[in-house]
Symmetry: C3
Subunit: 348 residues, 3 copies
Amino acid sequence: MRMTLSEIAQLINGELHGAGDVLISGPAKIEEAGDGEISFISSKKYKHFLDSTRAAALIVDQEYDNLKTPHIRVKDAYVGFLYVLKAYAPEKTHSFEGISPKAHIEKSATIGEDCAIAPLVFVGENCRIGKRCVLHPGVVLSGHVTVGDDCILYPNVSVRENCVIGNRVIIHNGSVIGSDGFGFAPQKDKYIKIPQIGHVVIGDDVELGANVTIDRATMGTTVIEKGVKLDNLVQVAHNCIIGAHTVIAAQSGVAGSTKVGRHVTVAGQVGINGHITVGDNNIIGAKSGVTKSTKNDEILLGMPAVPMMQKKRIDVSLKHLPDTMKKINNLENEIIELRELIEKIHGR
Amino acid sequence: MRMTLSEIAQLINGELHGAGDVLISGPAKIEEAGDGEISFISSKKYKHFLDSTRAAALIVDQEYDNLKTPHIRVKDAYVGFLYVLKAYAPEKTHSFEGISPKAHIEKSATIGEDCAIAPLVFVGENCRIGKRCVLHPGVVLSGHVTVGDDCILYPNVSVRENCVIGNRVIIHNGSVIGSDGFGFAPQKDKYIKIPQIGHVVIGDDVELGANVTIDRATMGTTVIEKGVKLDNLVQVAHNCIIGAHTVIAAQSGVAGSTKVGRHVTVAGQVGINGHITVGDNNIIGAKSGVTKSTKNDEILLGMPAVPMMQKKRIDVSLKHLPDTMKKINNLENEIIELRELIEKIHGR
Amino acid sequence: MRMTLSEIAQLINGELHGAGDVLISGPAKIEEAGDGEISFISSKKYKHFLDSTRAAALIVDQEYDNLKTPHIRVKDAYVGFLYVLKAYAPEKTHSFEGISPKAHIEKSATIGEDCAIAPLVFVGENCRIGKRCVLHPGVVLSGHVTVGDDCILYPNVSVRENCVIGNRVIIHNGSVIGSDGFGFAPQKDKYIKIPQIGHVVIGDDVELGANVTIDRATMGTTVIEKGVKLDNLVQVAHNCIIGAHTVIAAQSGVAGSTKVGRHVTVAGQVGINGHITVGDNNIIGAKSGVTKSTKNDEILLGMPAVPMMQKKRIDVSLKHLPDTMKKINNLENEIIELRELIEKIHGR
């Protein structure tokens, strides 16, 4: 797809400066953009690229003028660029259409209008799939799974029985929804399995990365509320509730029965303990271990997690710790010396 | 399914108090149970729900009496409830039966009685599958795989050639058994692959979570002994031995050639070094890094892991560390001051 | 397969000592080798097995003589043994041949000579697969994927549209190439998805473990350079570049837009921050968190990562920290006492 620069200016409602008939082949990063490509400058950090960029055109904030490169001025260059990115993104990334005769669909399943069900998909009994969903090859929906409208399930996603997925949900390759919770009752010398008869409910506009795992509840429901975004290899245990619009980065995990608040930001490789509550709007730094419940609006770091500023002070102190240990030994010696001196004086 | 309360009392061998003809639709958590649902009180922590619960019936320990809710008294309410949970769990969660003509089964494979092999399953040459196994869609057994009786392999589980799986083994979606060990010999400027010609043997009554990875041995066998339970996204490297009835929580990993003892409890996001031995009955706290071999019955925490009580004392000290650093500076100054004072006195 | 000891001596260009007609059934570890098996002694650590080993034959370095076991002397016993391992490794581990009629291949796809495409494989439109590739069951290539020659894609590997895979690449079960980068623009009370229109390029001789995830670039390319080896469950985020011959152990992750140098060694469960550069030849210890850019040849450990020797000194200090805290309290008291004493003297 190609648009002219003036078409793009119109699309993002911006002010065109320079030749509007330049043909734009696609968006690119400022340091990589070349012939026919459009980029953007939003952060001051990238301003120094203005002179050297080989981009055919730029989207910039309103403060920029006198640029030699043809450009479009908008209120927020970053948002403007997002719309361009969206315009140039392929509308669909699959070639299959309708319901492939090579998919296995149980007769009791219902599939909404305009779905694309690939070859090698399995849809179990009594599944209900909404409109305009795309199920890529290798997707497996066990029985009684409900999927809303406009969902994309990428290759090899599998959803266990009775789970419910909202509208406009995107699940990336290999992710697993509704596997059994990790529950075993110790009994003398072995464990007996606690049946996991609950399920998982995923809200609207959720996006799950690749190879994510979300366990079904022991009883009741593991809940991923609307707008949540989970990155690759994230683990959510049985009976958790992840609050609306919370974002969790790759390889983090939430242990069983924990409630994470809304609008929480969790960085990568974080662990959150079971049976606790994480407040709304928390920010949890990378590799932290949240061991106990938190209030709203906390910013935490470390294992165990403490307020981020405290952790950073601790880290600075830690760097000096080996030297400090020596210093303390010196102090001890000095005190002994002083004591001897005093006793000498005292004895006079 | 529905049972009356007196049927449940009989099932769990308990003492019925109240109307035995109440129809119970299923089990639920004490705080969520409502019309027609049964719950339980075992821990004192939940005792305060006794008055407010809307459960139709309760299972309680023998010490409880004078409850207004119909209830069953048993020696161990938790265990009693487990049996109810089991009774209400669906007997099977799949609709496919027998060997689907849409599965691909190599001619040399043998499949025991009463198995359910779903569409889109691949069973390679010379595989031997026991009785009453359930292979969900997307399961792939490469050649020469042996599976015991009564196993459940959930969707998209794959098992590489020559691996052996015991009886009553449950493997959740997307897990991988027998991928190559991570072995490369450095050679000048690159690595050459060390062929991984061993395999994996999984004992009876093992349960593996979703997206688990267990590598085959370089030579010989990676062993998961009987009764082991691994949570989602756990990694077991080549030539490891995981001892019987050991439990490992999500996102933990064991590096190559390590032997983990029996009845070990490993929390989430733990790393265990390669070529070491972890003693029996160890308990390893979350996010720990076990760097060297341990004795039996150790309780460890931290990276590097140290005895848990020691780690907790260190953590308390760490919180005060920045203040302590200031204190030490003060001490230094005080000593200088004292020395001056003494010298003044001394000089008199 | 079986070879005689003299055939093996010829294969590895070594000096035969003892009966050359011994039939060798396969290689084994020194402590496990038995009847008909060959092992090796390279490290001094294993020398004590020389007397007790039940191996039928040994490969040893040139310094060894007077062994009672038949043996082959070579310059480097370890390398010699690798060749034996290779000779005994099965040439292929799959029974399918050619293009299975049960695979789904889009008409516009091209597949090179001598490929083995299993049943239940999906190859999307305009894919180009080189010669002698093996695609195991459950492999899904979305549209416009390019795969070089001599690649092995194990069961349930999936590759999203437009990704490019080099020659002699091995990808283990369940790994995902080209899932969307984790990019969302905050907008008032929710996030909007940043389209991820880039792709992934994987160089020659790369090996990826099981359930690995590599995200496509937002724009441009996520690059895995030649010879890189990634272990199981490793995460590589959008727009990363992993330098040639870098090795990353299990469960480690690299955040977005980071450039990891060449010949870097990353241990398990490491996290590397986004938008930084890790120098060539770095060694990053297990569970470290690399928070900022590093120079070439650094050896780092800890979270935040610091030079490994510094971290080890800090760890030693930490062990003593609780005692040190007490010591400091004692020092404080001693100083108070000394001050009183001095004042008493001073007051005389």
